[in-house]
């Protein structure tokens, strides 16, 4: 028997205090009936004796202390799951979301607690299978592996949505026909952005293998706290009970964190940095750590959370704490974006912590690690030369610096840059790396083992190249203008 209370004593922000309750449990799901019959939901944040503090997912506007009816449902927040979720679009609480989805609700096969439970570290299997995203800046440099959590750090106006949807579209594991199924959760993004993803999924047929949860910018903010958990619960069902490989995209985590901050402020908790609660790290980890692989289970969950860094500041608590939990980060760079580079990937500051076990012989190619190291070193030298040129002028650069500078330009223009629908194979990415390195003297390849260098760039070839450039170099001198004027 569910009891109904009209004993609300205080409403403040997204919180409601209900008095004289009995048998209410922590984290219990709550149903609230407004004066006009509208039904809303919430959950118990704290119980103290006969007083319950309820967090309202849809906000408190329209609630009142006299007539609002409160019912405690005797269970936690749950999501009904089944394979029918595929191809459907839900709201932040798991109901079909018009106008994207006007079909009747799914018939759940079972109900699952959206908070999940921590994976036993002993049960985890180390992610080591290479995922080809078709983007050189990821596959070649910041390689993604199955079961990894690799966020995109972006900023307002940068093309993170395009990058994320290109990854979702192209991601696959080599040698396996089937592609990923995508679980997509939107928190507080605009209708337009959401529509971009969904149309893109529909256009490419990816929608048949996608489950979408939407909480848009004008949807209730507090609901954003449960939206990613809904999505991950769906992902866990599909991955671990239906053996699928799931790619979860969560965007934008900054809006999620702002919702947490709102609740924390309403509870008058001691605020941490920039007003975010002190437990933000722990809270985020209960979202991000739901990615992974589990021994003896076929399915997997790979996560790409997207977040916009306020003022492009990487030390802002949201990117900072995210970076402390995730296995690396892909950072989009405004300068590159303004130069017209797509994807504007800052490969130097980006990092995939799990790449080492996902690349090399039998995974990508045996030269991958050396090639990666050399490309990074060369690009770093090129960028340094570029800085120097800004201070001292290009004329002050040594010949070597100039070559590196040229390399860096080409690297950005041809390796990092690529088309939004261009799906590069890993071989193509690696070969492109070699091609670009050959702009530099062979002696500079210090990060590549001599045997490998011989294999991919034989000495003779280098000598031929040199001869060519030398003859090329001589020509302009012959009829150079200075000499001509001397004559």
């Amino acid at each position: 028997m569910i009891k109904e209370y009209t004993t609300t004593v205080e409403i403040s922000g997204p919180l409601m205090m209900v008095d004289r309750v009995e048998g209410v449990s922590y984290e219990e799901l709550v149903e609230i009936e407004l004066r006009g019959g509208e039904i809303r939901h919430g959950k118990v944040l704290e119980v103290d004796g006969d007083m319950a503090l309820v967090q309202l997912f849809e906000g408190s506007s329209g609630t009142d202390v006299v007539e609002t009816k409160v019912r405690f449902l005797g269970k936690g927040v749950e999501l009904g799951v089944s394979e029918e979720m595929m191809g459907r679009v839900f709201d932040g609480q798991g109901r079909p979301r018009p106008p994207f989805d006007t079909d009747p609700p799914i018939i759940p096969e079972k109900m699952m607690d959206i908070n999940g439970a921590p994976i036993n570290p002993y049960a985890r299997d180390y992610p080591a299978e290479f995922i080809q995203t078709g983007l050189s800046s990821i596959d070649g440099i910041n390689t993604l592996v199955r079961g990894q959590k690799l966020p995109v750090f972006s900023g307002s106006g940068l093309p993170h949505s395009r990058v994320a949807s290109q990854i979702a579209r192209q991601a696959r594991v080599l040698g396996e026909g089937e592609s990923f199924a995508v679980v997509f959760a939107a928190m507080g993004i605009t209708f337009e952005e959401a529509d971009y993803f969904i149309s893109d999924f529909r256009r490419t047929g990816a929608m048949d293998r996608a489950v979408v949860f939407l909480n848009l910018a004008d949807d209730p903010a507090i609901e954003r706290i449960s939206t990613p958990r809904m999505a991950l619960t769906a992902a866990e069902y599909l991955a671990y009970e239906r053996d699928m490989h799931i790619l979860v995209i969560l965007t934008d985590m900054t809006n999620y964190c702002d919702a947490l901050r709102e609740v924390s402020a309403a509870r008058r908790e001691v605020p941490g940095r920039r007003g975010y609660p002190g437990y933000l790290y722990t809270d985020l980890s209960t979202v991000y750590e739901r990615a992974g692989r589990i021994k003896n289970r076929k399915g997997s969950i790979t996560q790409i959370p997207v977040l916009s860094m306020p003022e492009d500041d990487k030390t802002h608590p949201i990117p900072d704490l995210t970076g402390y939990i995730t296995e690396g980060q892909l950072i989009l760079n405004r300068e590159l974006h303004n130069k017209g580079v797509y994807p504007p990937m800052d490969v130097m500051e980006s990092l995939s912590r799990l790449k080492d076990k996902g690349i090399g012989e039998g995974k990508t190619r045996e030269d991958h690690a050396d090639l990666f190291n050399q490309l990074m070193a060369a690009y770093a030298s090129g960028k340094q030369a570029r800085e120097l040129a800004v201070i001292l002028g290009t004329a002050a650069l040594s010949d070597m610096d100039k070559q590196y500078l040229e390399f860096a330009d080409e690297y950005e223009a041809r390796y990092i840059s690529q088309g939004e629908n261009e799906d590069r194979g890993i071989e193509e990415t690696l070969d492109l790396g070699w091609e670009l390195l050959k702009m530099l003297p062979r002696e500079e390849m210090k990060r590549i083992s001599p045997e490998r260098l011989d294999r991919y760039w034989p000495k003779e070839e280098a000598e031929e190249d040199r001869e060519e450039t030398e003859t090329e170099g001589e020509e302009p001198e012959k009829d150079g203008s200075e000499e001509a004027s001397e004559d």
């Binding site: 048998g23 209410v24 449990s25 922590y26 984290e27 219990e28 704290e46 119980v47 103290d48 004796g49 006969d50 936690g76 908070n115 999940g116 439970a117 921590p118 994976i119 036993n120 570290p121 002993y122 049960a123 985890r124 299997d125 180390y126 079961g147 671990y240 001691v270 605020p271 941490g272 002190g278 437990y279 790290y281 722990t282 980890s285 750590e289 739901r290 992974g292 021994k295 289970r297 990487k314 030390t315 900072d320 704490l321 970076g323 402390y324 939990i325 296995e327 690396g328 980060q329 130097m348 990092l351 912590r353 799990l354 080492d356 190291n373 990074m376 070193a377 770093a380 201070i391 002050a396």
Partner: protein
């Protein structure tokens, strides 16, 4: 048993009434699911309990049972190779019992009580014993002999000892007639409260380095055996890789690795790698000397707070056997944050950044449990417990209260530089900002083991790195070519020290570990090159010709020379001399040619 009732639930904190008989830090079981918790505040008859498991579903009125016992761990054979959560629940057996996800109300003891161990007694009946005395031994792993000790709080006359044979840890192996407690039966294990440090006879200053195989650490910023070190840095700067490297290669006999509030996959990494990797000394798998404590970020936050204590108590226990133990805690910031979270829920007065006022005291108490000691027990065994803590300050900002409180107590600071990490210079330990306060204490050791030259060479190398940073500023303004030849050489050698020596790839089969012998060989090649070159400069050789010697290539690859071929590194010195001699001769011939 004390029985109370829940009044309030707020996150991991539960307040129960009717608990007037409970004591601070006693363990309590919460609700009929028997969730494990610890009493952290008492007010009248109300106890605030931090619960080590998820509290969803608890309600006021649910029962709470006080156990009257503080949070303790089981210490005995079976610790090695184990992986525990923050309150010593064995995660492998948890998985056997409840599957891949950690559910609530699991209550499995830390040690296997069914397994039989080969026990060899080493005390005769009639002997007077005190705490710490060795009762007998058990070959726990192929690498480690477990010494079964009289618990620290027991002393008296041994009245009976079991015969050599195989026993479970529950079977009595000896009886001791004590003054205060009558005849006490001793088993191969005993319990110890985690928040209480185990007694020692005497603390001494560390006088031997903990060799780690990491060049920048061993050469410039060593930690003493029994010493303390911290490694703060922003994410991605290499804290975890350094901790893993230490766990792999440090010449400790026992390693306790505490993954405190960090990534699940990092523990999996250790679990998968350590059985495969060989200890460089014994050639045996590293896992045989390792105990893992894993309370990852998504596991309950209160158990994270306990995890560092669980780890260090296990560390002390092996130290008491006379072993040299090294404990890594990654990351102590997560422990401090767990403290902050509980303090916030208790509505304590917040200090800096919301941390409780006692943050500094707790951190100091924790590192105080490290040390080079004489253990309790008759034999005056020496033992050591070294502690290395990672610190993860927000945004890498070192003014963070946890960093500051840690720096006040630890003696070694490895300063990780984000800048170096971006340039993929690893380990990203800044050579100018880091320090080790053990260098003086260790001087005698180095002089005896490696010779006076080592100390001189190391100091000269460091001096060059310092000069480099001054010169770089000038070079940036006027261009490196305008510097004097001597200064150009300083830049050249400093670069060689950085790239050919300090840079060390943890993932390279050979480069991952460098013995002291090879470190000495490598550094002496670089420094003798420097000397030869500076002599050459005096003979008016152009610096440019020196900096492009063919041997340069081999110097840059000496880190990849295997330990068995160290003499190949040594031999480079001759090659260098020869090539420089050639350059000098050529230069002189040229000059003569020009003159003639």
């Amino acid at each position: 048993m004390i029985e109370g009732k829940i009044e309030k639930i707020a996150g991991p904190l539960v307040v129960a009434a009717g608990m007037s008989k409970a004591r601070m830090y006693d363990v309590a079981f919460v609700s009929d699911d028997r969730l494990i918790g610890e009493i952290i505040e008492l007010k009248e008859d109300r106890a605030s309990i931090q619960v080590y498991e998820e509290t969803g579903g608890l309600k006021p009125g649910d029962p709470v049972y006080g156990t009257g016992e503080p949070l303790s761990v089981e210490l005995g054979p079976g610790l090695l190779k184990a992986i525990y959560d923050g309150i010593q629940r064995p995660l492998d057996r948890v998985r056997d019992q409840v599957g891949d996800w950690i559910t609530r109300g699991i209550n499995i003891p830390g040690l296997d009580h069914e397994k039989r161990w080969e026990f060899t007694p080493s005390l005769a009946e009639g002997t007077e014993v005190g705490g710490g005395e060795i009762l007998g031994t058990v070959p726990e792993t192929e690498l480690i002999e477990h010494k079964v000790m009289v618990p620290p709080d027991v002393s008296g006359e041994v009245t009976w000892v079991v015969e050599k044979g195989s026993y479970t840890i529950d079977e009595t192996v000896a009886r001791v007639r004590t003054e205060d407690r009558g005849e006490v039966e001793l088993q191969m294990y005993h319990r110890w409260p985690v928040r209480k440090s185990r007694p020692i006879r005497e603390k001494q200053a560390p006088d031997q380095p903990l060799s780690t195989g990491q060049r920048v650490i061993d050469t410039f910023f060593p930690v003493g055996k029994g010493g303390t070190a911290c490694v703060p840095g922003p994410f991605g700067s290499g804290k975890t890789v350094i901790q893993h490297q230490l766990a792999k290669w440090a010449d400790a006999e026992i390693v306790v690795y505490v993954g405190c509030g960090e990534r699940g996959n990092e523990m999996t990494d250790v679990l998968q790698e350590f059985p495969e990797l060989e200890d460089p000394k014994s050639g045996k798998p590293l896992i045989l000397r390792t105990v893992l404590v894993a309370n990852t970020s998504n596991m309950p936050v209160a158990a994270r707070e306990a995890s560092v204590y669980t780890g260090i108590t296990i560390g002390e226990y092996f130290r008491d056997m006379g072993y040299s133990v090294a404990l890594m805690a990654d990351s102590t910031s997560r422990w401090a944050e767990a403290m902050r979270e509980m303090s916030g829920r208790l509505e304590e007065m917040p200090g800096e950044e919301g941390y409780p006022a006692y943050l500094g005291t707790r951190i100091a108490e924790f590192y105080e449990r490290a040390g080079k000691v004489l253990c309790v027990g008759e034999e005056n065994r020496p033992g050591a417990l070294s502690v290395v803590g990672a610190v993860s300050p927000p945004g890498g900002d070192l003014s963070d209260p946890v960093v500051q409180a840690t720096l006040r107590v630890v003696k070694v600071f490895w300063s990780l530089q984000a800048e170096l990490a971006y340039q993929r210079h690893f380990p990203a330990i800044g050579w100018l900002g880091s320090y080790s306060l053990y260098l003086d204490n260790l001087e005698d050791y180095y002089r005896e083991e490696m010779g006076r030259e080592w100390i001189d060479m190391r100091d000269r190398a460091m001096a060059l790195l310092q000069e480099e940073s001054n010169l770089q500023e000038i070079a940036r303004l006027v261009g490196a070519e305008s510097l004097s030849p001597e200064d150009q050489l300083i830049l050249y050698t400093a670069r060689s020290i950085r790239e050919d020596y300090l840079h060390q790839n943890a993932f390279h089969e050979v480069d991952t570990y460098t013995s002291m012998e090879k470190q000495q060989a490598m550094l002496s090649v670089i420094m003798s090159t420097h000397e030869k070159m500076s002599e050459a400069l005096k003979r008016e050789v152009l610096p440019g010709t020196l900096f492009e010697l063919p041997v340069r290539e081999e110097i840059s690859r000496m880190k990849y020379t295997s330990e068995e071929e160290v003499e190949k590194v040594e031999n480079l010195k001759d090659k260098v001399s020869e090539q420089i001699r050639n350059v000098i001769e050529k230069a002189e011939a040229q000059r003569k040619g020009v003159a003639g």
